[in-house]
C-alpha cells in the first residue's frame, strides 16, 4: 500500500520573463522522507524547491504553472494564501541569514507573528526546545541575548534551522544548506538532519552526491530544467535507469 504523499507536484513548470527554467516536473514526497534533489548547476533544482513554498512569488516576472499539493489542497490555488503555506513549509537558505537581533529574538520571531505563545515562559520553552533540537542549546544557552550574527557560520545555520522548526512546519526545505560551511560544521548539520527526519519531511537541494548518499533515503536527479529520474537513493546511485543520470554520477557531466 502506498502511503499518501505529504506533498506532490504535478506538471510544474517555471519561466522567468518568458525564458523557461523548469518544465513538466511531477514528483511525490512522502512524510518523514529525506529527499535530495541533485543535478549540475543551473538545472533548476533550486527553482523547483522555491516553488514548494511559493517563494518564487517574490520574484518579479516569474510564472509558475502546474499544481503542487500539500496534504489535500493545491497551494497555488487562488484561495490559498502564500503566508499560510510558508508557515507550514519552512525554508533554510544557502547562506545563513540570521536576523540582526538577539539569538532569543531570532527564534521567537516566528512564534510571535503566528501567536503561538501566550506568555514569556512559553516563549522560553519554545526557544529552549528549538535550540536543543537544532543541537545548539548547550553552546548558546548562556548568551541568548547576544546578536545572532555574532555566531560562527555553522552555528548561524543551526540557528536558522532552529528558527524554522520553532513554528512547527510540516515540511522543511533546504537549499544547499552546507555549501557555505566548513566540513566540521557540515558534519554537525548532517547529523542534525538525521534526527530531524523523525518529526519533519525534509527536501534538500545539494550539489554534493556524497552528501545525498549520506543523508537521504530518496533522491531526484534534475538536468536542464527537467526531472530525469527519481527513486530510492541506493537505486539511483547504483542502478540508475537513465543514461544521463549515469553520466552525472560518474562525473561525465556536471
Amino acid at each position: 500500500m502506498t502511503a499518501k504523499p505529504k506533498m506532490s507536484a504535478k506538471n510544474v513548470g517555471v519561466s522567468y520573463n518568458g525564458k523557461v527554467a523548469l518544465s513538466e516536473v511531477s514528483i511525490d514526497f512522502l512524510e518523514h522522507d529525506v529527499i535530495s534533489l541533485i543535478g549540475p548547476s543551473g538545472c533548476g533544482k533550486s527553482t523547483f524547491l522555491r516553488c514548494l513554498n511559493r517563494m518564487n512569488d517574490t520574484i518579479d516576472g516569474c510564472v509558475v504553472s502546474g499544481e503542487i499539493q500539500l496534504d489535500n489542497y493545491n497551494i497555488y490555488s487562488s484561495e490559498i494564501d502564500p503566508v499560510e503555506v510558508r508557515a507550514r513549509v519552512g525554508m533554510v537558505f544557502q547562506k545563513p541569514n540570521p536576523f540582526p537581533k538577539s539569538i532569543y529574538d531570532n527564534i521567537c520571531y516566528g512564534p510571535r507573528i503566528h501567536g503561538m505563545a501566550n506568555s514569556r515562559d512559553e516563549l522560553d520553552e519554545i526557544v529552549e526546545w528549538s535550540l536543543t533540537s537544532a543541537g545548539l542549546w548547550e553552546e548558546v544557552k548562556d548568551r541568548l541575548n547576544e546578536p545572532g550574527t555574532g555566531l560562527s557560520g555553522g552555528q548561524q545555520q543551526r540557528l536558522c534551522i532552529a528558527r524554522s522548526i520553532a513554528i512547527h512546519p510540516e515540511v522543511i526545505l533546504m537549499d544547499e544548506p552546507c555549501s557555505a560551511l566548513d566540513p566540521i560544521a557540515t558534519a554537525k548539520i548532517e547529523e542534525l538532519l538525521g534526527q530531524l527526519r523523525s518529526k519533519f519531511t525534509i527536501i534538500i537541494v545539494t550539489h554534493s552526491m556524497q552528501q545525498a548518499a549520506r543523508i537521504s533515503n530518496r533522491t531526484a536527479f534534475f538536468h536542464l530544467g527537467e526531472l530525469i529520474e527519481e527513486g530510492k537513493t541506493d537505486d539511483i546511485f547504483t542502478v540508475p535507469k537513465d543514461e544521463r543520470t549515469q553520466s552525472y554520477i560518474t562525473g561525465r557531466i556536471g
Binding site: 513554498n53 517563494m55 517574490t58 537558505f93 541569514n97 520571531y109 516566528g110
Partner: protein, 458 residues
Amino acid sequence: MNTFSFICIFLIVLSGAYIFGHRYALSSVKNSTELHSLPSYHGFYVAIWFAFPALIVLVFWYFIEPIIIKSILLESIRTTALLGSTTPDLLLNDIKNLATNSFALKSASAVKLELVNRYLELKSLGIYLKIVILFSIGMLGIFIARKKLSPKMRARQSVERVFTLVLGVCSIIAILTTIGIVLSLLFESIRFFNKVSPAEFLFGLHWSPQTALRSDQIGASGAFGAVPIFAGTLLITLIAMIVAIPIGLLSAIYMAEYASPKFRNWIKPTLEILAGVPTVVYGFFAALTVAPVIRGFGESMGLSVASESALAAGLVMGVMIIPFISSLSDDIINAVPQSLRDGSYAMGATKSETIKKVVLPAALPGIAGSILLAVSRAIGETMIVVMAAGLAAKLTANPLEAVTTVTVQIVTLLVGDQEFDSPKTLAAFALGLVLFVVTLILNIVALIIVRKYREKYD
C-alpha cells in the same frame, strides 16, 4: 588703465610667450622628431616662466601695497591737526570712503581734501609701478626660459610638474576654507569672550544685545545670555522634526518596499523638489500664508497666537526637510540585504510584518544617521526663520509664541552698519562658532553611524 584692459594685455603677452617658445623649439631643429617634447610644451614652458613669477609678485604686491600706503599716509596725517579727535584707522577709512564719494568731497574740509588727493596719487602711482614691475619680471622670465630651451630639454616633464602642482593647490583650497572658517570664527569669538564671559554667554538666560555708542549712554548694559536663543532653535527644530520624520520615513518605506519601479522613479525626484526650492520662498510662504492660517485657526479656538509663531516656522521647515529623510532612508532601506527579507517571508510573515520587525530594525542605524543630518540642516537654516520667526529672545516651550533662533540673531546683529568691534557684532561670531561646532558634531556622528551600518552589510 583699468583691470579689464590689464588682463587683456597680460593674456596677449602670455600667448606671445607661448608662440615664441613654440616657434623657437621648432626652428632649432631640422626635424621635429628630434625634440624631446612636443613644441607646444616648449611654448607652455616659456609661458609659465612669464606668468608665474609675475603672479607671485602680484600676490605679494596685493598684500603689501595697502600697508605701504597706510604708513605713508600716516606720516602725512601726523603733520596735520586732525589726529586729535579720532583714531588713525578711522581717519584712514574716512579718507578711503571720501575718495570714492564725489558727492561728499564737495563739502569736505581742506585738510581732508589734501589727504584724499595724496591717497589718490599714491594709488595711481601704485598702479603704474605694479604694471611696470610685473611686465619687467615677466620679460625676465621669458629671457631665462629662452636660455634654458634646447631640443633635448624635458619640457613636458617640467610643464606637467607645474600643472600637477596647480591641481594639488586646487584641492588644498577646501582645507584652506575650513581653516579660514575656524580661524575667523575663533578670532572674533575670542575677542567677544574678552568682553563677555563664556559662562554668561552659554548659560545666561537674558538676551538683549545693546551696546553703548558712547560710554555714558543710558541703556548701555547689554545682556548676552544665549540660552533663550538655543531654546528657540531647539523648539523650532523639534517642530520641524515632528513633521518631517513620520512623513519622510513612511514615504521612504512605501517607495522602497511597496511602490512599483515606475512610481518610485517619478516620486523620488518629485519629493526632492521640496529640497530644491530656495529657502527664501519657504520663508515668504511661511510668513504670508501659513502664519495667518495658524493664527486664524488658533484664535477661533480661543488661543492666543503670535503672528510669528514658532509653529509656522517649524511646520514649513519640516516640509523642507522631508526629502532629506525620505531620500536617504529610501537608499538605506534598499540597502538591507534581500536575504533577510527572504528569511522572514519563508517563515510565513506578511510584508508589513517583515518591514516592521526585520527590515526597519536592520536599517535603524542608517535611518538614525539620516535624521541627524536632517537635524543639522534644520539648525543651520536661516531664511525661513528670519522671515517667519521672531526677534524676541523668549524662553518658552509654547509653539504658539514667537521665539528667535541662532541664525536669526546672527543676521540681525550683522546686517546694517555697525563697527566691527562692538560686542554686538562679535556676539554674532560667537553664535556662529556654536552653530558651526554643533552642526559639525552632528555631521560627524551621522557619518560614523552610517559608515558602521554600511560596513555591516557590504
